[in-house]
Every structure is written in structure tokens, then in C-alpha cells.
Subunit: 355 residues, 2 copies
């Protein structure tokens, strides 16, 4: 029995990838040891490392003038590293406070520089992303920070801010589910534990021209330029997480790459939103239609008692991880790259028959 895991992250991975990793877990490539026991300076690991970076470049369509960094500490550590690296002068940084993650990002940035809210959706319950016209951006801003998808509130940005200020984006839950508009961004970062692999790995993309001006007056691990100069081998990298992501990327490539992931995401989310919209209000999305996330479909039912019964019925059918984040309640179906359409159909079917 394999469950359909709708958890928001760590999240479902392709079964074929798990089985392959299991097969080679104890003895990697006939080396007489597991990959996780190998030196990160060994030829065998370096091949895994180099191939993973190359696959990230290829599948994300990363322009040549961006560095790809493999770090630890999650997007949470980047909430500090972004201002630590970029706010070197007196220029402020604008933040679009679009949900729990945007709020954490600006909260952390305020400790390391002058961070202001260019927009704040909290009073509206974080039910939508702002339009460009609503943003209050100071022209002297070093950057404008956006969260492309708020996993807890189930909203995503589709209209990228129309501004001359450079963008910095937390895109954890969007990684490899839609194209990144590279030309607008100086920095993009995100954890791998949603669309790409297990927890313990953060991928940071930084434009090379930006790296020449980042802060050097920091402990080495906190400096993006140090990781860029050492090909993400400044210290021991999270070997297993990189290996598993590499395998997942290979699987994504076999499925047709970014374009295939994007249309699959549209199909998966479309099916669930259709059930919600045709339920005569039995299911309700708290999110404005234009801001609906394709990765995290948040929905409510008439009352909490029904929601409890629904979750129990879902668990009965091995549809798990559907409970909404504890801070907002309700239901949340996270539909990342490795979620098969059959799982979404099973969920849609349960929703249709329920109530």
C-alpha cells in the first residue's frame, strides 16, 4: 500500500526514485560503502554533486550569469542571509508581506538592515497577492522581496511587480513547477523539500554581478560569494539530500521537464478547484480567484465538524496530510510534482461524494 501524501513539505517523492535509492543505499556503485559514508571530496560524490548542479541549471533554465548554490538551513536561514549579504549600504529593502512566510522574511530582515513593507495583506487575511499598482516601493530600495507562493495561505503571485527595483524571491514551493522570470531577479532561493527532494537542502540562485558587491564582513558560511567560489563545497554539504534531489531531477527530466511539470500542476489544481467551484458553496476557497496557488489548494467546509469527518474519511482511503496549517485551520491539499494524477482524482472523488 502506498499512501497519497498531500503534505505541504516534506512531501511526496516519486516511488521510482525511492526504490532506486533503496537499492543502492548500502553499497553505492560497488564502492563497498554507502554514499552517505563517502568523503565529499571523493570522485564518486563529486560526480553526484556536479551532476545535480548541472541538472538544476538545465531544468530551471538558469541563465549563465547566475550562480547555483547548495546550502543548508532552509529558506529560514536565507531570511537572514539575504539582508546580511545585500544590505551593505544605507539603502532600504522593500518586502511584500503576502503571508506567513513574507512576514517571517521581513521580521528577520529588520534585524540586519532597513526593511519596510511595500504592501501588507494581513488585514485582509492574506487572501490574495497585490497588484503592481498597490505596491509602495521606495525608489532607492536595494531590492524588493517577494514570496512567489505562500504555502500556508494557498496564494501565489502571477503578476510580477512592475518596478525598476531588483527582485529577490523566496520560491520554495514553486520550484520547478513554473518558469522563473530570471531577468527580473537578482536572487531566488528556496528549500528543496517540496517539489525536488527531502529536507536539508536549500538552493540559492544569485546573479554573478551581484556577488561582486555582497558583504564580505561576515562569517564564511553566511557569505554567498564563499559558497560560489567553492562550488558549494566550502564545508561538508548535505550529501544525501543533494543525491536524492539529483535523482528526483532526473525523474522530472524523464517526465518532460519544467513544461511538463507546469501543465501537470495546472491539471492537478484545476481538478480540485473545479470540485470546489461546482459544490454550491459546500467547499469554499478563502482565496481570491486570481491568486489561487497551484501548489497548495486551501479549502474550507461548512463547519469544523464536517472538516473533521472529511479528514477521517480521507485517512481511511490513504489520502493523508490534508489538514490545513495549524495557524489557519481547514484543509490544504499540496500538489507537488511527484503527486500522481490518480491521487488527485481520488481526492476529487472523495470530495464529490462527501457531505
Amino acid at each position: 500500500m502506498r499512501a497519497f501524501n498531500f503534505g505541504a513539505g516534506p512531501c511526496t517523492l516519486p516511488l521510482a526514485v525511492l526504490e532506486e535509492a533503496q537499492e543502492e543505499f548500502v553499497d553505492f556503485g560497488g564502492a563497498g560503502m554507502s554514499l552517505i559514508e563517502m568523503s565529499h571530496r571523493s570522485a564518486a560524490y563529486e560526480a553526484v554533486h556536479t551532476e545535480a548542479i548541472a541538472r538544476v541549471r538545465k531544468l530551471f533554465l538558469v541563465p549563465d550569469d547566475f550562480e547555483v548554490l547548495f546550502l543548508q538551513g532552509g529558506a529560514s536561514l536565507q531570511f537572514a542571509m539575504v539582508p546580511l549579504n545585500l544590505l551593505t549600504g544605507s539603502a532600504p529593502a522593500g518586502y511584500v508581506v503576502s503571508g506567513s512566510w513574507g512576514k517571517r522574511a521581513i521580521g528577520d530582515a529588520a534585524h540586519h538592515g532597513d526593511a519596510y513593507a511595500a504592501w501588507n495583506g494581513e488585514a485582509e487575511g492574506f487572501a490574495r497577492m497585490p497588484s503592481s499598482a498597490e505596491l509602495d516601493i521606495r525608489p532607492d530600495s536595494r531590492y524588493l522581496h517577494v514570496t512567489s507562493n505562500e504555502t500556508i495561505h494557498g496564494i501565489r503571485m502571477t503578476e510580477w511587480p512592475d518596478t525598476d527595483v531588483r527582485l529577490v524571491g523566496d520560491m520554495s514551493s514553486d520550484y520547478l513547477s513554473r518558469p522563473i522570470p530570471w531577468a527580473r531577479f537578482d536572487v531566488v532561493y528556496g528549500g528543496a523539500q517540496k517539489n525536488l527532494g527531502p529536507a536539508g537542502l536549500t538552493i540559492v540562485f544569485v546573479r554573478r554581478s551581484v556577488l561582486s558587491g555582497t558583504n564580505r564582513n561576515l562569517g564564511a558560511y553566511l557569505r554567498w560569494d564563499v559558497h560560489a567560489d567553492s562550488n558549494s563545497l566550502y564545508n561538508t554539504p548535505p550529501v544525501f539530500a543533494i543525491y536524492m534531489m539529483g535523482k528526483t531531477l532526473q525523474w522530472i527530466e524523464q517526465q518532460g521537464g519544467l513544461a511538463a511539470m507546469e501543465s501537470a500542476a495546472e491539471a492537478r489544481a484545476g481538478l480540485i478547484y473545479d470540485v470546489i467551484d461546482s459544490s454550491d458553496g459546500f467547499y469554499r476557497s478563502p482565496v481570491e480567484v486570481g491568486s489561487r496557488s497551484l501548489m497548495n489548494v486551501v479549502f474550507r467546509m461548512p463547519d469544523e465538524e464536517s472538516e473533521g469527518r472529511f479528514l477521517a474519511a480521507a485517512t481511511e482511503q490513504d489520502l493523508v496530510g490534508l489538514k490545513g496549517h495549524r495557524s489557519v485551520g481547514g484543509m490544504r491539499a499540496s500538489l507537488y510534482n511527484a503527486m500522481p494524477m490518480s491521487g488527485v482524482e481520488a481526492l476529487a472523488s472523495l470530495m464529490g461524494s462527501f457531505g
Copy 2:
């Protein structure tokens, strides 16, 4: 065929642990998914997390007034987090520069506070640890930082500094191979990827009374108190590394715990040092006898050509990872907890017959 892996880290793990992890890799406890796919808020993962913390407390003999933190970023991130958290006032911090790691630690600290060298062994080629009498410690120091074992140079501290200044220790490669003198320390930290598990997990021990005075003016991930208050679940933890460490700790417990690991370490290193000392100078330890590491036995041969032939002969017998760090050359046999005595005997036998 299983190789004997003398690598300095990531390093050899118990075969039984690897095989058990392989067995349950795809479907963890009948959940219909891998542990690495599970939410870090799920009951199944929380049990793994809680048990790992409890085993750390028990096996390390951690006093009740210390917090145990599971972080990411390696000891390298702690090189910055130690001064960021502790150097809140104008007090300086002393550093014992005993090798490459001590040097990195003071270099990073200098960016975040007033760090001075209480002793520096570089002119002597980092061939020994200092005596207490040699340390030049300013009485107003917030802390004195020591590296208990320098993995690259193969030296370890046996005489803990005799001072009223509180100690902070990087003990990565000593973890669970000898007791930690807790009464002297405010903070102890280290990566798990030597004696305890795979890469991607750092264990930090902080005295509770210290946490009340640490810096709050930092991004949340950089604050020890944030991790302590959230039981190391502030953000997504490195699930797989914690799980593997938990399993390795269970294995260590079955072997007899810390005391058994310590005597095994003495036996392993003793055997190799005996071969060196009785070789009439054919093998040579560059390290002063009183500072010899039990974890990393560094040795040289008459010339580099012999060393090359030795490494080739060792590889032929599946004794791998014996090449010294690229910055110092020669040979290095890392003898961590999971290295079986049969591996050490095979190495000793090769050394005895060689040359």
C-alpha cells in the same frame, strides 16, 4: 565486499544501521511512505525526533541544565553563530588557534566581535595542543574557544584550559568518543558526520542560563534561543540525518555507550601508534606524543613515493580514505566509532608488512 573506510568525514557507519535503514526506506513503519516524505509535524517523525534528542542526552551524559539543539550548516555556521549569539557586549573572546579548524573559527569570529588568539600553534606546524600555562587569556573575556580535536593535524586536547573564563568548544570529531567536561563549558557544538551519522546535522549544546543572555537582534535561524524554544522544530529539520543519527546512537548504546566507545577508541588508535613507534622511524608521527588524536592518526613515511605506493596497496585491500588532508599531505587514518577493530588490524598488518 565491504570496504574499511578511514575517511575523516563523512565517514564509516555501522553496517547494521545502514541495512536497517535500507529495509525501511520506502515504507516507514507501514505508513505507505518514506520517512523522508513525512511532515516534520507528523506523529511518526516527532517520535523519531524526540527519541534522537533523548538518546543524545543519555549517551553524552548531558546535564539537565543544557539544551540540545539540532541545526544545519555544520560547525562552519556555528563559527559565526557563536560570536553572534554570545558577543553581545564589548567583552572580547579568546581563541586557541590549534589547527585549521581553530583558525577558521577565529577568522569568522573576528567579523562579529572582538576575537583574539589566546595561543597560536601555526608557527610550530600545529603539532601539539598548548598547556594551560601557555594560554594568554584576558580576564574580561566572554569565553575561550577551543577545538578539542583538530581532524586535519591529528591532535587533541587532553588538558582542558585552567581558567575562570567559560569555555566554548568545537568537538565535532570527538563526539561520543570521550566524555565532555560539562562543568567547564557554556557551549559545545559539532557536526554529526563523524562519530554519529551522515552529513547535514549539527548538534549544539547550550547551557540554559546562557540562553537568557544571548543576542535577540538576529534573524531567527541564527538565534540559539529560538531553536531551544521550539525543540529544534522552528523550521523543517534535516529529517533523514536526524533519523540516521538516532539509529547510530541506538547501535552505540547496544555496544555499551560512551565508556565502550572510549575504550574502543583507545584500542584502535593504540594499535596504529604502536606500529608507528616500533617501526624504527619508517613511519613517523608529526604530532607531539601528548597531543596525539585518537580519532585521526596522522603519519608520514620516508618519502612521497613510498606514501603513494602505500596508498595504492591499501586501496588494493579495500582500506580506503587514508590519504591525508590536501593541505598537509601524508597519511591519515580516521578511526571513528563505527570502524571495526578488524579494519584497524588490517591496516596495522599492511603497515607492518610494507616497506
